[in-house]
């Protein structure tokens, strides 16, 4: 057995992770710079964008599938992120960027990726003409395309919160929902509003290719809530929390190694540098692929009850610690995601009323990202959406972390109704939110100043 190098138990463990515990590479995301696609005419910008994506990403899907077969590890999604389109399209005279969104959509279909991210603007400090044009184009762009994802960064720890942009995004979310009312407001599932957005996130809908990134880069998002859940169930009985954290760390290490392997292989074969592994626990609606279930296996009867925030904080940190050891470059969002509609345990807890909007907000203080895939009543005002965005941005700004909002005001629906997106986006009950107004606060506009970086209590 000297030559085999692996114990049969090790080999079986790996195969089981893939076969029964839903270990997968969630995404290989190719970041592509479109900074050389500027042109005074918007139609020419769109044509250049389409041509460049089709050229650079032509082999992405084929290579992804080849790696998948060779290593026997599913790679669920192949995706593309691009330079924030506001930066690219601003060179043109037109202010309606839907044409560029359509070019992105066509390019995504041509190369065979299911999502393309980067219909984006970075406006944490203020807006240029191109930023404003992009934001105004978002509702029509998302309602009129299939695969394009949009994101807007409205705040950062260094710049504070741009409340004019926040107010505008409140209106954009409502408008996007209305324009996709026949699909339960699906356009909003493709729109993320960030504080402290990261430039190398491979996960949708918030992926874009940051301005400090190279010409082309390969980023990998790994997942595996199912693997962590089984490890906690199998090895966690009777352990104190320190030892339980070690079990999670070891498991996160193994999951992340797969991301590192796939990232290196994809980078070598595509001739593009390897960027980062994002070691997030990203749930899917599939049974057993749930972050909520991990929290529950740790001893919380149902996610959302008291203790959930502490359990999530520990899970999130243990995942990072295990993953950081496993990869030469960890980046992106890296942590546990808690989208409501995409996680069977979250859906059940929300339907039961255990998981409330306010508890979700509290949980976002300690895990990666934010208020994600939450359906709220269709008559929620733009000012209330803006206030939700402002709250979440404040959490990110003060805690020096990325936070985001992806809420769906479900057109024509109220508390107790359900939205159905299907596929990875899942389904969710419309959750109650506060009905008292924050409109006067939102309408003040201006910027919330950046917080002190000392006196941290």
């Amino acid at each position: 057995m000297r030559n085999l190098r692996f114990a049969p138990e090790e080999i079986i463990e790996t195969i089981k992770m893939v076969q029964t515990e839903q270990l997968d590479i969630r995404t290989i995301t190719m970041g592509i710079s479109l900074r050389d696609c500027c042109h005074p005419q918007l139609a020419a910008v769109a044509a250049k964008v389409y041509e460049k994506i089709c050229r650079v990403a032509s082999r992405l899907v084929a290579v992804g599938e080849e790696i998948e077969r060779e290593y026997g590890i599913p790679i669920v999604n192949k995706r593309i992120s691009v330079t924030p389109i506001a930066l690219v399209a601003e060179s043109a005279d037109s202010d309606d960027y839907v044409l560029v969104a359509q070019a992105l959509d066509r390019a995504a279909r041509e190369v065979g990726v299911n999502f393309i991210g980067g219909f984006s603007a970075l406006v944490q400090k203020g807006m240029t003409r191109g930023d404003a044009a992009l934001i105004e184009s978002i509702p029509a762009a998302l309602a009129g395309t299939e695969r394009v994802c949009a994101s807007v960064n409205v705040a950062s720890t260094k710049a504070g919160i741009n409340m004019d942009a926040v107010a505008r995004m409140g209106r954009v979310v409502v408008d996007a929902a209305q324009r996709s009312r026949d699909r339960d407001g699906l356009a909003c599932a493709k729109l993320v509003i960030f504080c402290n957005a990261v430039e190398d996130n491979p996960f949708m809908a918030g992926a874009f290719h940051g301005i400090g990134e190279p010409e082309c880069v390969i980023n990998v998002g790994v997942s595996g809530p199912g693997v962590v859940l089984r490890a906690v169930e199998r090895e966690g009985t009777g352990l104190d929390l320190g030892d339980l954290a070690s079990v999670i760390k070891r498991t996160a290490f193994k999951i992340t190694r797969m991301g590192e392997l796939v990232g290196r292989a994809a980078s070598a074969r595509l001739g593009a540098p390897f960027g980062i592994v994002d070691l997030s626990l990203a749930p899917t609606p599939a049974q057993g692929d749930s972050v909520a279930r991990i929290i529950e296996a740790m001893g919380i009867e149902r996610i959302g009850t008291h203790g959930s925030t502490a359990a999530l904080a520990m899970l999130n940190d243990a995942v990072k610690k295990g993953g950081a050891m496993a990869s030469s470059h960890v980046g992106g969002l890296s942590g546990a995601f808690i989208p409501v509609s995409e996680d069977i345990g979250m859906i059940e807890a929300a339907a039961a009323g255990t998981l409330t909007f306010d508890k979700l907000e509290a949980m976002t203080c300690v895990c990666s990202v934010g208020l994600d895939m939450i359906a709220v009543p269709g008559d929620t005002s733009a000012e209330t959406i803006a206030a939700i965005i402002a709250d979440e941005a404040a959490i990110g700004m003060v805690n020096r972390k990325t936070t985001a909002v992806r809420v769906i005001p479900a057109p024509g629906k109220g508390v107790g109704d359900w939205v159905e997106f299907g596929g990875l986006l899942g389904r969710a009950p419309v959750m109650p939110i506060h009905t008292e107004s924050a409109a006067a606060f939102v309408r003040r506009g201006g910027r919330i100043p950046a917080p002190l970086q000392a006196l941290n209590n």
């Binding site: 057995m1 085999l4 692996f6």
Partner: protein, 94 residues
């Protein structure tokens, strides 16, 4: 097959029966793939056979070999698969 190592791990999982090793060895021999090592064990009531094979002189591309193995597995009512050894090296060795 990727640069570097040309070694693959062939795994057979299922119910034990006569001729499994012979069938898998035949496919590998036909493809001019050298068997470096074999291990078999019973794990949680399943027969598990693991082979390390070297594809340095293989006459078939990896994907085709994998298809032959998968097909033989279906014929015998077993799960037969092949994966590049890096999957196991990355996960279990630092």
């Amino acid at each position: 097959m990727s640069e570097g190592s040309k070694r693959v791990i062939v795994t057979v999982i299922g119910e034990d029966r006569i001729g499994i090793i012979a069938a898998v060895s035949r496919i590998l021999a036909d493809a001019e793939v050298n068997i470096v090592d074999i291990s078999q064990t019973i794990m949680q009531e399943f027969f598990v056979m693991i082979m390390m094979a070297d594809m340095k002189r293989a006459s078939l591309p990896f994907e085709e070999l994998k298809r032959h193995l998968n097909a033989k597995g279906e014929e015998l009512g077993l799960r037969i698969d092949a994966q590049h050894e890096d999957v196991f090296r990355f996960m279990h060795r630092v």
